[in-house]
Point group: C2
Amino acid sequence: MDTNKPGLRHSQISEEIIEQVERQLAEPPSLWLNLTGAQILEEEGQDSKDIVLPNNRSQVTHIAIDIGGSLAKILYYVRDTTSPSSSSSEVHENVSDRGGRLSFVKFETSKIDDCIQLMKQLIQDHARESRRKPVTVMATGGGAYKFYDRMSEELNVEVIREDEMECLIKGLNYLVSCIPGEVFMLNPETCEMAFEEQFHDEKYPHMLVNIGSGVSILKVTGPSKFERIGGSSLGGGTLWGLLSLLTHASSYDEMLELSKKGDNAAVDMLVGDIYGENVGYERFGLKDSTIASSFGKVFRENKRLDEFLPEDIARSLLLAISNNIGQIAYLHAQKHNVKNIYFGGSFIRNHVQTMHTLTYAIKFWSNQTMNAYFLRHEGYLGVFGAFLKYARAESNVPVPPIS
Amino acid sequence: MDTNKPGLRHSQISEEIIEQVERQLAEPPSLWLNLTGAQILEEEGQDSKDIVLPNNRSQVTHIAIDIGGSLAKILYYVRDTTSPSSSSSEVHENVSDRGGRLSFVKFETSKIDDCIQLMKQLIQDHARESRRKPVTVMATGGGAYKFYDRMSEELNVEVIREDEMECLIKGLNYLVSCIPGEVFMLNPETCEMAFEEQFHDEKYPHMLVNIGSGVSILKVTGPSKFERIGGSSLGGGTLWGLLSLLTHASSYDEMLELSKKGDNAAVDMLVGDIYGENVGYERFGLKDSTIASSFGKVFRENKRLDEFLPEDIARSLLLAISNNIGQIAYLHAQKHNVKNIYFGGSFIRNHVQTMHTLTYAIKFWSNQTMNAYFLRHEGYLGVFGAFLKYARAESNVPVPPIS
């Protein structure tokens, strides 16, 4: 494998690193999926999250689902059948020699019917392709419990439930370690993404702040060693819920679009609004533009909802919730002596304003000593972890080691 | 002075304690106001905050104002002229021998005109009573800067500006030390108020979490030694602002009344809503009833604002903001190794649900090792501090020591 091939610097991964990961992530059974050469698929104009695995030869007989409070995510493997392999001389019935791809799909949890329908379809497709082994569903998130009976009955396959937090951590570990171009930081000045090409010097401990409907904060001290050290009920569900009452936006993406155009100073009370302009409260590092009170101008000005711009409301609420999460994350990191903080969960959605606010908060409060990391698959940590948790101990197909 | 007089246990204060306070608060000039025997006035059916000072003989020639982002508070002294003294043989022209009372009034900052009007009236009344010395206005809060020129011009008296945080701390110190029945805790089980009759064993360090429009967190290590260690933009202004957009309530008291009747489970996503009933997520101490996401049910259920009860919305938002402040307060207290946390500011308004949520948060996260204290004059710390900052060095009237 030529890891120095031009243009592929971000998309391939060296043998040395793979070995390092193998040692770090040594958990029985060893990983059966060949992630060598994994590459995030870039399709122009499309927000694809698919990951191409050109070197995977093992047959995949399971799908994974992570059902959260607001969103459900499905992850499944698709063999690449587009053209015959030029390098392989043998073609086995059930083994692709062209590799394949990991496909990620998300639904609103309220549309669980559609979600189950997709799984049914995937199970039927699999049955047509191969009769050797039935599909297994790896399920995580609270909905793995809530919808367990329904999935078992309607899908008529084995459904294995996996702990939500364990899946998050496993997903995070493998995404960080094995998927090039997955992890990045945001430059707080220019808002440019800076991709991490190498492992951090200190991999452990780190912290995962997973922002879904609510927030979970996990401290990770080893490949499968972690504890839930905190959380907050002010998360994505709060933003989506309040904005769906306060604006005309009917989807989260619309809300994020609104927030891009808004000016929070129309609803937030700034230090300058209280002290007057050019006075500030510098003694305590509070500038004129510091938000003293989110939505603090609304009551004072005695205006009705239709007298405010939905853009301004969206911007204010996004800032309020992101700032708050950033502050709580910093305080937990400080308490537990952790420097590197990964932000995951569907709240972020690679939205620059959100990532900037979180980065700024961490940098500001930690006096530049802590780092905020983001992930391309930020909302899919749990489903990726559940997918990888599938153990192929009973499989007839040989388990290829990571190499 | 008979400190053992029955029925006055809470309302008077021993010489020994006064001496202790005097030592602890030794700041030149010594306190010119005699707080011995101070008593919070209880008037049936009235939410009075007035403090009776039966032993004060000094003439008071100033008023204090604290102008925050949402609320402005005025504090002035009224001589007791109801009946002649039976114990005093001399009556001086300008010195009351019956003591007097401290009167507290609050306005919305948007009604600053009414506020200035009251100050004008007080200044005129003073001028009629005594011509010896003009009134001084002690002003604090951001509005002391924003409205300085206007107050100076319209009132035509000296306006002295004092630092907001210094006033908060001075006000807190004197309220805690000198006003019996001022400080209390809330029993998290029964919601009963438990009044503090004695000083804490460890007076310093303590923390003040002042919740006005926004939140300021101060660590206090001595009578006038403190630093601002944190804050949050999610405070009273956020609650008032969002509820004025989401409900028909037109005053903060109406919002609090609404919240008493509401059920937050109608809008909040609970752990049980995600995992299904009786499953929970006990591994991480998350019960069925734990709020996973504030307002998390709203977007999922795709309902309009008029399909929710304003009571439920008010309850949810009050819980969300109180919980969040409690958590941030705990994290700061932990970081700074502080056990005793005072909650002040007009957000609290002695509302049982709010105080219960804050108490519960502190007790829960600190594993019962920290204490949450509340104050009868929670919203008047700053104005009380500004009032006490008035130095009578130039006065002709003798300065009576605290005794």
